[in-house]
Structures are given as C-alpha cells and as structure tokens.
C-alpha cells in the first residue's frame, strides 16, 4: 500500500539491563495489512522489544516509529496509534469490564457512540461473560479477554500482542485469530509475539526469529523453510536457536 506509513518501523534498537543486553541492534518493518510473528526462545528479548515499542521501556539506542510518528519525539501521537496486549494484563481490579472499556475509550478519546458499539461488539465476539462484574472476580482467560478488548477498542493502526492466547479457551482463541485476520484485511498491522510455532504458522504472513536479542532470521514461512533447508518452521526454529555445543537434531 504505497503512501501509507508502516504501522511499525524499528531501527537499530538496543535495550540493556545493566550489563545484560536484552535486545541488540534490532531492525524491523511491519507493513500495512501484515501479521508479523515474533518468535524466539524464552529470554530472547521478545517481551522487551514489545515493551520498548509500546513506550513502557526506554531504548538505550535506536528508534521506534509508529505509523510514521517517532515514539521518542512525538510520544502522544505514536501512543495513540498503537495497542498492546501485554503478557501480564494491566487491569483495574475494582472496575467492571464495561467500566474499564469505557475508561479506555475516554483516555484514547474515542467518541462515546462509537466506543459503545465497539465495546459491546468485542464483549460479544470474545464471549466475555459477566462484563458488569468486577474484574477481580475474573478467571485468567476472562482477564486476557478484557486486555484484548481494551487494546482493540481504539482500533489503532498497530496492534502488538505478547503471548495473546494465554488462558484463552479454543472458542475465544479462534475469535481472536479471526479478529486479527480482519484487522490485517483492513490494512492495519499486527505484531504477535509467541513461542507457539503452530500459531505462527497458521496466523502469520511473515516471521522474525530472535535469539539472544538479535534477529537471526526473517521472511515468509516458505522463505524461512527454503533458506534453511528444513521441512517445518519448528525445524527452522530449532536449527537457528541451537546453543553452541548443543547437538543438531
């Protein structure tokens, strides 16, 4: 889609915790209408990258641009264009799901009439029961549904999800995948961090494999398989993330 700024551009991003480098000179571009899988073993730097891209952590070097806006120089414009489903949901325990979504709509300045329709639509599609009950009474899956609905409510050009299927039942997981596909169909960008390779294979148009904070592979799933001469994404993943001294499978 020429002329439209990519939902996410990351250039030479580095983030350290003390002497430990969690993300090392990472660059990536998420194109409009694309679902990009962000894969890697535990501790590879996936969550750190997503948190830096969402503005929750500051980068030590590099730049993040969201829908053409620099997160460092135009933070409010950039934040207005992104939604995040974090690994641990940020919820107010003593609000109901409806009140929480109402609050999110207000701080993202979504007009009330539009917000109401979207909130009810998301509650119905994600099958969120007890939307008037306080969130403190919710199960893990119900909390994840509220977190997903909150990220989707402002309908941002960029949606980032960190292990989004955690706690979801098969019906809700299917509903989420459909929602993500629909968003991509409307030209919006989706970045999904997961270690579930079958989810990545079914859902993503392209994938990036991260290892020790560095990008070790990028491409469509076919490109990755061909480039590394492996039959499945799992084989590619295991070959690329093998530790030194570890025997090949």
């Amino acid at each position: 889609m020429p002329g439209i700024a990519p939902p996410l551009e990351v250039s030479d991003l580095t983030r350290r915790y003390g002497r430990f480098t969690a993300v090392d000179r990472l660059s990536l571009v998420l194109r409009p209408g694309e679902i990009l899988g962000f894969l890697g073993p535990n501790g590879a730097g996936k969550t750190t990258t997503l948190r830096v891209c969402a503005g929750l952590l500051r980068p030590d070097a590099g730049e993040v641009r969201v829908a053409g806006h620099s997160l460092a120089r135009e933070p409010l414009r950039a934040r207005a264009k992104l939604g995040l489903v974090p690994d641990r949901p940020f919820l107010y325990e003593r609000l109901s799901a409806r009140e929480f979504l109402e609050f999110i709509a207000a701080i993202y300045e979504v007009p009330a009439t539009i917000a109401n329709g979207r909130a009810e639509g998301l509650i119905a599609r994600l099958d969120l029961e007890g939307a008037n009950d306080l969130i403190e009474t919710y199960s893990l899956g119900a909390r994840q549904k509220v977190s997903i609905a909150a990220a989707l409510l402002p309908d941002p050009p960029l949606l980032m999800l960190d292990e989004p299927l955690t706690g979801l039942d098969p019906r809700a997981a299917r509903a989420l995948k459909d929602l993500l596909r629909e968003r991509a169909g409307r030209g919006l960008g989706v970045l999904v961090s997961t270690h579930l390779l079958e989810v990545a294979e079914r859902l993503c148009d392209r994938a990036i494999i991260l290892h020790h904070g560095r990008k070790v592979a990028e491409g469509t799933l076919d490109e990755l398989r061909r480039a590394h001469g492996e039959a499945t994404l799992e084989d590619v993943f295991l070959a690329l993330t093998r530790e030194s001294g570890e025997e090949p499978r």
């Binding site: 915790y17 003390g18 002497r19 430990f20 969690a22 948190r51 969402a54 503005g55 929750l56 952590l57 500051r58 409010l76 414009r77 934040r79 207005a80 995040l84 974090p86 641990r88 940020f90 919820l91 107010y92 325990e93 003593r94 609000l95 109901s96 409806r98 009140e99 109402e102 609050f103 999110i104 207000a106 701080i107 993202y108 300045e109 009330a112 007890g130 008037n132 009950d133 306080l134 403190e136 009474t137």
Partner: protein
Amino acid sequence: MNVAGVARARARVVRNTLLPRRGRPGRGGRHPLLAAVLALLVAVLVGAALSALFETLAGAGATAARAAGTLALVLLASLAGLLVFDLHDAVSTLLLDPDLELLRRAPVPGIALLGLKLADALPRTSLLLVVVAIPAVVAFGLHYPLPAWGWITLPLQLAALWAIPLGAGTAAAVYLLRRLPARRAREALGLISTLTLVALWLANAFLLPRLAEPGPGLAPALDGGRDGLALLAAVSPAHWLANAVAAATAGQPLAAAVATAWLIVVAAAAVALAAWTGARHLGEVQARLAAAPAGRGRAPRATRSARRPRTMLGALLLRDARLLLRDWTVLGDVLTAAVLWTLLPVVGATLHAAPPALLARAMLLALTVGLGYEVAARALPFEREAAAWQRLAPVPVGRWIAAKLIGASAVAAPLMGLAAGTLALVFPLPAGTWPRLVSLALSALWLSIALGVWTGARFGDPTWTSPRAMLTLAGRISASGLLLAQAAIWFWLSALADIREAALPAGIGLWGPPLVGSLVSLLPIRAAMGRLSKLES
C-alpha cells in the same frame, strides 16, 4: 523434604534480595538494605525517647518495680501490635506470596510449608520487636542497671515475647481462612491492623506523656496504673517480661526465673498451637485457597450508573472515585488516619497548655500535612500495575498528575472542612481569626498534596498488600520526615508572621500562604511529572 537444600535455597533468596545482582531489574523497586537501615534509625529514635522517659522516672525517684509498669505498657503495646500484624501477615503470606503455587505443588508437608512461609515473613513479623520492644528494654536497662546475667537472659525473653503472638496469630490465621472467604479475611484484618495502630497511637500519645509529667502526679499515676491493670499484669506476657527485667535489676534471680519460665512456657504453647492447627487444618485451607485464588470471593457487581465521562480528565477522576469507594479497607484507613492526624497536637497540649488559637492552627496544620501523606501519596500506587496505562495511553503526563491532584483534593478538602467545623465548635475563636487560618490550612493542604503525589510517584510500591504500606518502607519513613518538616515550617512561618505583623505588608496572613504554597508546590509537581515520564514497566 531435603531440609539442607531448602535452607540453602532460602538463604540464596535472602542474599539476592539484600544484594541484588546486576542484570534485569526486579519488580517493585524496593531497597531492603535501606529499609533495614531506616528501621534501625527508628529503633534508635524510639530508644532515645524511652530513655528520656525512664530517666525522668528514675530522676523522680520511681523504683525499678514502679518503672517496670511503664515498660510493661510499652511491651504490651508491642505485643498487641505484633499479634494483629502477625495475624495479618500470616494471612497475607498464606494467600499472596508469589511462590505459594510452587510450594503447594511440591511434595512438601503442609506444616513444613507453613514453617517456610513464616520464616520468609520473619522481617515483617519482627519489625515491632526491633523498633519498639528491644529499644524499650535497653532504655530501661540504661537507667535501671541490669546485672550481666540479666542482659544474657534478655534475648531468650524477647524471643519468647516474639514467638507468643506469632504462634497465636498463625493459628488464628489458619482458623480464619477455614471459615471466611480469603479476600474478606484479608480486608477485615487490614482494617483491624489500622484500628490497632490508632489504638496504640492514642495510648502512646495520651498515656505515656502523663507518666513522664514531673511533680507529685508521677507516683500515683504509676501506682494507679498498676492497681487498675492488676488482672492484666497477672496474665500479660509483656508484664512477665517487664517483671523479669525489674527482678534482675533488683538482684532477685528467683523472681526473674519464674517470670521468664512463664514466658517460655506460654511461647512454647503458642508455637505448639500453631503447629497443631497447621498440621490439622492447613491442607483443608490450602485446598480452599487453590479452588478460589487470591482476590476471588463472591462476585460483586458494579452498579451500572448513567455517569459517563465526557472528557479524559473526567474519566480519570471517575475511575479514581470508583476504585476508592469500592475499596473499603483503603477508605477506612484514610478516614481513620484523618482523625489520628487531627489529634496529634492535642498530645502536646496536655503537657503544655496552649492558647486555643494556636492549638486550632496546629491541629489544622497537622491534618493538612497528614492528608497529603494519607490521601495524595497513595493516589498513584493505588492503581497498582494498571498505572502502566499512564505510559501506554496517549495521555499527557501533566493531565494524569492533574487528575491525581484534583482527586486527592476532592477527598482531602471535605475532611479538612469537617475538622475545621469541629474546631470552630470546640474553640470559639474571634471571627477575624478564621480567614487567616483557612488561608493557611488550604495553602498547606495544596503543598502537602503536591508533595504527597510526588512521594507516591517516587516511592510507590505497585505490589502493595496492606493499605498502610502503599509506599516502600524507605518511602514511608522519608514521607514521615517530609510531613513533619512541612508542619514545622508552616507553623514557624505563621508564628513569625504573628510576631512581626506590624513590620510586614498588610494582609500577608491572607495572601502570603497561598503565594508560598502555590510557588513551592511547583517543585514537587514538576518532579512528579518527571518521575512518571521516566518510569518503566
């Protein structure tokens, strides 16, 4: 269970907590070493204050046996506090500790799990012992000299005093969790902890200063206290410890040994009761908790209201109002604390008669600076980890802080209005005094709220479990120092304005405080904004 292996693992946890390694930061931003140093500092302060008290008593000719009555009251207060706080901590530990799930799944007997968790809770359950009981006994020993064997037996006696409430509190916690929904038990205990704190504060504020008042009132006060509390003295471990110390001072080893024996027997019984209750009921409690994770109780429904925020600021305020009104432990704590702070100056007034206008001013100032700590400092950490929306959503940091300032003012101003109204009834001051007093109080309140919001941004602990501990320990102690400094400076400035009124510009008593308050408050507001914009999640 491999006891040596478990002990090694727990020792590593303690070491890594006290001396964090470089690498990924932990959550919560706590500084345990700083907290320990500050706790020791408080212990020294308490010790110094009690040393002055015992010095006064010794100087007035009170015998060791008489002064031991005062020591017993201080120890009794510690004991009551330990009991309630241990109960609260035991319930919180059994409900909320992050490694509970891991331990429940491990092949660890229930009673061993209880022992492990109580060992983990050691720093929390021994705080009152460190900052009150030990300094009190040491202060007593300085002015009523103990023989060497008296000092040697002290650790054993203090350990027994610590074990009694721990055993009883643990047994009561297991029993409570069998009967009540977990969340209700924790909330109720939180409120009971607050009320106990108030009771201890009032006892400390009104009783001890009277005992130290010089003059003929001392001996009757001590004897009256002893007579009135004779039954309590017979059954109170705090009195046994005080009697043992007094007997050691008087060179009566047999009496000291009898009192110490009572302490040890009751401590052993309390620990045995905890072990028996744990062995018998802990499995059942753990099964209940596993079926209903922490925070889950009956499903209350939010009342569906027609109120809809029309602006971003309105949404922030409505959210805060809903959160506060639905958390009755925090709300109860704020209201109780407001009463406590208003009473603070009355303590001094009982010893040194003050003119009503001065006393009313001091009471209002104490309340205003107290509200900054009690209301405003909690405004940010109250949001827990959901405060991350401040960094995630497209909300200018100034608007988030503005909402906190307005929200805290909306809670604090009615409380101050109520206090001012009560004072107006109690102290019939000339009408001309009130405009200046209100101007001073409102200015102090605004600055105090600004400082409170900064304190919350700087020291807030998003993982808090007790409403009285939304700031880290270092934060609570720093905030206490800050509010004492505020009260002192405002009081000094207003007194100076009274004395030099003729030499100062006309009406300074009306416009001076708002000018000072609003200008100085810009500093903490800017600092809070800077802190929020740099916070990471």
